[in-house]
């Protein structure tokens, strides 16, 4: 089956006062229709930037895409005008974000914002009354207790969970093909978090959505997604079905993330942390970016290691993967072939 979203060799840098910051480095990622992918990694690894850059939401300058391509349903998105991108955003791709407290405009009623968004999603082709009908319908779909009342409220009059439901309603009103959920539950408390995750799983099913869910929490991702891509310092280090990530992780960073998950039958002081910090992306190491924190580090780690498949649908970028060869060895092989 063809991919819905196909990101190929995407690199993005930020031009800062201190130099060039390599935020995304040669990332490839594809998503099939109906697939729910979790994009996991620690804060600052580039998960949000990757998904926002793909749809032209990272201000440039300071950001600059240096190479790659992003195709949605076969259409190249990079290089599109802002006007054309607006047609894509909202209508085909919807986004919801981390902190529902700050993603609604404080000085406009929820209803006004919903109606404006819905009209924009339809390219202005529907009037306010029709948009209002859709908005109220969506508010019901996300199980808000009293849609009409929430429609006429200002954001500060609503709770965090309600606001996130409103943002989800706003995002899905256009019946998009792809939903990007950027840490949608991080700012919510645990019971609300569970409700929102249930709601999202329900809507993904109902509306036949594809979804990329960004999170730093593998546990959250496991509730909704069938596949996980693990990102580290601007690169994807492992990409596999959710079961395989939990059962047979290969990359030491993935293992580290799993070790950091709390478990009901394990005392909290047994939680493992990964020592060290992200490498300096103003001057990233040429090889594996995790090498500086890795307990399995060896000399080959200082050479670039591409993401490669080790099993169907399971790719890893690590010298530890079964059958991995270092580029130096690969180069001699190529020579022999010639």
């Amino acid at each position: 089956m063809d991919s819905l979203l196909d990101i190929r060799n995407l690199s993005l840098v930020f031009d800062t006062f201190d130099g060039t910051y390599h935020a995304i480095d040669d990332v490839s990622l594809s998503l099939k229709p109906g697939e729910a992918l979790g994009l996991v990694g620690e804060t600052g690894c580039g998960k949000s930037v990757l998904t926002r850059a793909a749809f032209g939401l990272v201000p440039s300058p300071p950001a600059r895409i240096t190479q790659g391509s992003v195709k949605l349903d076969g259409m190249e998105l990079l290089g599109l005008t802002d006007r054309a991108l607006r047609q894509v955003r909202g209508r085909q791709v919807a986004m919801i974000f981390q902190d529902p407290m700050t993603y609604l405009n404080p000085v406009f009623k929820v209803g006004t914002q919903l109606v404006d968004a819905i009209r924009a999603q339809h390219g202005g082709a529907i009037d306010r009354k029709a948009a209002r009908e859709i908005a109220l319908d969506m508010l019901e779909k996300v199980h808000l207790p009293n849609p009409l009342r929430q429609f006429n409220s200002y954001p500060h009059e609503l709770s965090g969970g309600m606001r996130q439901r409103i943002l989800i309603a706003m995002a899905l009103a256009a019946r998009p093909k792809l939903l990007i959920a950027d840490e949608p539950t991080t700012a919510l408390d645990v019971t609300i978090q569970a409700q929102i995750l249930d709601l999202m799983a329900e809507l993904v099913d109902d509306m036949n959505l594809s979804m990329i869910m960004i999170s730093h929490d593998l546990g959250v991702v496991a509730q909704v997604c069938s596949r996980v891509a693990v990102m580290y310092a601007g690169k994807i280090v492992e990409d596999a079905p959710i079961r395989e990530i939990f059962e047979t992780p290969v990359h030491p960073y993935t293992k580290g993330l799993l070790g950091a998950l709390p478990h009901p039958f394990r005392p909290a002081d047994d939680l493992e942390s990964i020592p060290g910090n992200l490498p300096d992306l103003l001057d990233p190491p040429p090889g594996c970016r995790f090498a500086g924190r890795c307990t399995f580090r060896r000399p080959e780690c200082d050479a670039p290691i591409p993401l490669a498949e080790i099993a169907p649908r399971h790719s890893v970028a690590c010298v530890l993967r079964p059958g991995a060869v270092t580029p130096a060895v690969a180069a001699t092989k190529d020579l022999n072939h010639a």
């Binding site: 607006r86 955003r89 909202g90 609604l104 405009n105 924009a120 995002a171």
Partner: protein, 336 residues
């Protein structure tokens, strides 16, 4: 809302009383003998003493203050020692001219300042932003009276584009007063040519007077817009596909205008008190010029009256600004 207004009005009375105490004290400890001024240069010592007793200048300060407040409460601003005219009549004559000039000036500053601030923010660090910054820096740096003199020199004297000063040409009849503001009175009476002429006379003084306020409004609005444009709800609006014009002019500006509004209120007050230089340069018969003349001649009653009038105007403006805040921001609205 009504409760807030009532509360603020009550507070205003207290604040005005405080203002009266301060001004009263300063005006009375400042050098200058009001009795001698009132008596005139040819009066002998006996006449001066007689006036001193007649007018109560010989009584202790606190007593005189209480008497003065009592007089105010009866709606009497007293009269000028110098001209003998009732101060209330002077203020009624001069205040509308100043209010007219200030309203015109603040309108210029708002109408130009808000959009320029927005443009500078949207085109941050582009040539247009630098050009606007040059304008706003010069607005802060150039003294108002100097700018007024230069405008008068080049545009009025050399090029003859604008009148040198005054409120109307000397051959034009002033319309029958309604508000005392000539342009508005003329409009109300359908004398459009006269209204145009009055506005024409205000262009140069208003430009000079509005320049510092324009600079301040541009700077605040630019900074606020920059901040708001980086907020999450703007990202979300963009992610929904809402057009840039609506995002900037509606979604962002309504948030950014709130702090700008506070600045506008402050500048409005400043302008009321700061008209004296501009009125002097353009021979514009307003309250500033009147107050300056009174101050120079230690004319006590006009000084007090002008200070209290301007103080009350300043407080009223700030009340209006606070109410506008509530209109624009639902979070403020819920608190009052």
């Amino acid at each position: 809302m009504l409760k807030l207004i009532a509360k603020r009005m009550g507070l205003m009375v207290v604040m005005l009383l405080g203002l009266a105490v301060i001004t009263f004290t300063i005006a009375n400890v400042a050098p200058g003998d009001p009795a001698r001024l009132a008596a005139g240069p040819d009066a002998n010592q006996a006449m001066v003493e007689q006036i001193r007793v007649e007018r109560g200048f010989d009584r202790p300060l606190p007593v005189r203050f209480v008497l003065y407040v009592d007089q105010l409460l009866h709606g009497d601003f007293g009269s000028s020692v110098y001209t003998g005219r009732p101060v209330a009549r002077d203020i009624a004559q001069f205040l509308p001219a100043t209010v007219e000039l200030v309203l015109f000036s603040i309108s210029i500053a708002i109408v130009l300042g808000v959009p320029l601030g927005v443009i500078a923010a949207v085109r941050q660090n582009k040539p247009i932003d630098h050009a606007i910054r040059l304008l706003s820096v010069s607005g802060v740096a150039l003294p108002m009276f100097w700018l007024g003199l230069m405008l008068q020199w080049y545009l009025a004297l050399d090029l003859g584009l604008f009148p040198l000063g005054g409120r109307l040409g000397i051959f034009t009849d002033v319309p029958e007063p309604i508000t005392g503001m000539i342009s508005i009175d003329a409009l109300l009476r359908g004398q459009f040519a006269v209204a145009g002429e009055a506005l024409w006379h205000m262009v140069l003084p208003a430009t000079a007077l509005s320049f510092p306020a324009l600079a301040a409004i541009i700077r605040v609005n630019r900074a606020e817009m920059l901040e708001v444009l980086g907020r999450d709800y703007v990202t979300n609006a963009r992610a929904q596909g809402i057009g840039p014009w609506r995002i900037i002019a509606v979604y962002s500006l309504k948030n950014a205008i709130l702090p700008t509004l506070a600045m506008i209120g402050l500048r409005f007050g400043w302008m009321l008190g700061g008209t004296v230089l501009v009125e002097g340069v353009f021979d514009f018969p307003g309250l500033g010029l009147y107050a300056a003349k009174a101050a120079v001649s230690s004319d006590f009653e006009p000084i007090m009256a002008v200070t209290l009038t301007l103080g009350a105007a300043f407080m009223l403006i700030n009340l209006v600004i606070d109410l506008l805040y509530a209109v624009l921001d639902p979070r403020v609205r819920n608190q009052i």
